[in-house]
């Protein structure tokens, strides 16, 4: 497995991580490390554990075995630093999960004011900056029910950025979108990557993976099967599982 850099500098390290849902093992001995500024692409068939892997990073799920360190803090049974870790890790979901009773701007300022205790004015100014960055400042006073899927996902990205995270996690951010809206979201993510944001993206968008990915990690049945540079992985996958998976993606 290619390590991008030594573990001591890594933003996220996972060592021997295993997880079970009931009797089903969903992750088996996963080792993973992400260095600052790295853009990691996680791919694999559904049920391979890629979403679970990133959900472990901000503790939406708990691991049963192994160690996970996020920004130097080990995720352990007692979660005294949990809110801090979650502040350092931004997450974007497949189904956006915007708060429908709040305007776009209110969605963005909620966590900074409640969790980071930012003043209302400061939080609003920062939120507007991020909304400009995702190029939808004009939607600030709309409700999620009034905007398109692509716009919702860009709001979700801005909302996560408002916490000024050190890492951004993307869980299939374009899978629930109509085809014509995929590009606007990917463009936003490319922009983020250019600015040097550390990112882990669960995605099947190969064009995106090639353009911004530093490394692709391919998972199957809860294990990391293959890992390498995007060009090498997409052009010449080493394992039979990866070959079969990519064959299906292309055929599709």
């Amino acid at each position: 497995m290619t390590q991008h850099s030594d573990d001591s500098a890594a933003v996220i390290t996972m060592q021997g991580v295993s997880k079970w849902f009931g009797h089903t093992q969903v992750l088996a001995d996963v080792d993973l490390s992400v260095s600052p500024g790295e853009r990691l692409i996680l791919c694999g068939p559904s049920g391979s554990g890629k979403s679970t892997t990133i959900r472990l990073v901000n503790r939406l799920e708990r691991h049963e075995k192994g160690t996970i360190r996020v920004c130097g803090v080990e995720l352990a049974e007692n979660d005294r630093d949990l809110e801090k870790i979650r502040g350092d890790v931004g997450m974007v979901f497949q189904h956006f999960n915007l708060f429908p009773h709040l305007t776009v701007l209110q969605n963005c300022v909620l966590a900074p004011t409640l969790v980071k205790k930012r003043s209302a004015n400061a939080a609003r100014d920062e939120a507007m900056q991020y909304l400009e960055r995702v190029r939808i400042p004009e939607l600030a006073h709309k409700y999620p029910g009034q905007i398109s899927g692509g716009q919702k996902q860009r709001v979700a990205i801005a909302r996560a950025l408002c916490m000024q995270p050190k890492v951004m996690l993307f869980d299939e951010p374009t899978s629930a979108l109509d085809p014509e809206m995929v590009k606007e979201v990917l463009d936003t993510m490319v922009g983020l990557a250019r600015d040097g944001m550390t990112m882990i993206c669960v995605t099947h968008e190969m064009g995106f993976a090639r353009e911004v990915g530093d490394r692709v990690v391919f998972m199957d049945a809860g294990r990391v099967v293959e890992s390498g540079a995007p060009e090498a992985f997409f052009n010449a996958p080493q394992t039979a599982r990866a070959q079969a998976f990519l064959g299906q993606l292309i055929a599709h």
């Binding site: 901000n58 939406l60 949990l82 809110e83 801090k84 979650r86 502040g87 890790v89 931004g90 997450m91 979901f93 189904h95 956006f96 999960n97 915007l98 708060f99 429908p100 009773h101 909620l110 966590a111 409640l114 969790v115 709309k142 409700y143 999620p144 029910g145 009034q146 398109s148 899927g149 919702k152 979700a156 909302r159 996560a160 916490m163």
Partner: protein, 230 residues
């Protein structure tokens, strides 16, 4: 109808109305507080509060309100617990409505998509902040039309406490009808007053529903509450 006759009707009926309003507001207050508390117990992960809440809800919903009032007012004194009629009425009405509201609130909270919890957890909100800022505002909007219904039911159920000789609008009407032998006139007037009270409650809820409306999710008109995700 001359002025004197009108006064013999209107004075007791307005007094009765004030007591009915007092019953309504105090019972509504305690029922909402109780409903929230029982609902949280019902959803708690701890077994004892959950079971207690469930038992309470089952008992209340499984017996008539009239019986509950009789139990409190006539039954409890045998155990040495003597409660004033008005207080007994408020206790009975609150205990009764509280059980129904607990179930209503539970359905409202459970209707919130798990993605809402995940997003607020991922943003670092504490459990209390998640409830207060994300879950409850949405749950309230979901149950608001039904809440209005319960408010209307309560206005009318306050009349049941007349049977435990609490002086309120219904009891005032009964006494007046007995004294004047004008049952038709008296009960028509009483009916009109209840109807007016209900109209006001109904208007308050309609207006609030409009104020709570959110484009695309809670329309505020009571129809087309499209909760589907885009």
């Amino acid at each position: 109808m001359d002025w004197i006759t009108l006064r013999t009707y209107l004075v007791p009926l307005s007094e009765g109305s004030l007591w009915t309003l007092a019953l309504f507001f105090s019972s509504a207050f305690f029922a909402v507080a109780l409903g929230l508390l029982v609902c949280l117990c019902r959803l708690s992960s701890a077994a004892i509060p959950r079971k207690l809440a469930k038992t309470y809800i089952e008992i209340i919903r499984g017996t008539p309100l009239l019986l509950q009032l009789f139990f409190i007012y006539y039954g409890l004194p045998e155990l040495g617990i003597v409660i004033d009629g008005f207080v007994a009425g408020v206790i009975g009405l609150s205990l009764n409505l509280g059980a129904y509201l607990a179930e209503l609130f539970r359905s409202g909270i459970q209707s919130i998509d798990s993605g809402q919890y995940e997003a607020s957890r991922a943003l670092g909100l504490t459990k209390l902040q998640r409830m207060k800022n994300v879950v409850l505002p949405q749950a309230l909007r979901n149950v608001f039309p039904a809440l209005g219904n319960y408010a209307l039911v309560l206005v009318k159920e306050t009349s049941l406490v007349a049977v435990i000789s609490v002086y309120e609008l219904m009891r005032a009407g009964e006494m007046l009808a007995g004294a004047t032998f004008q049952a038709l006139t008296v009960y028509t007037l009483v009916g009109i007053i209840y109807f007016m009270m209900c109209s006001v409650v109904s208007w308050v809820f309609r207006t609030s529903e409009r104020r709570l409306s959110v484009p695309g999710y809670w329309s505020g008109s009571g129809e087309n509450n499209d909760m589907s995700k885009a």
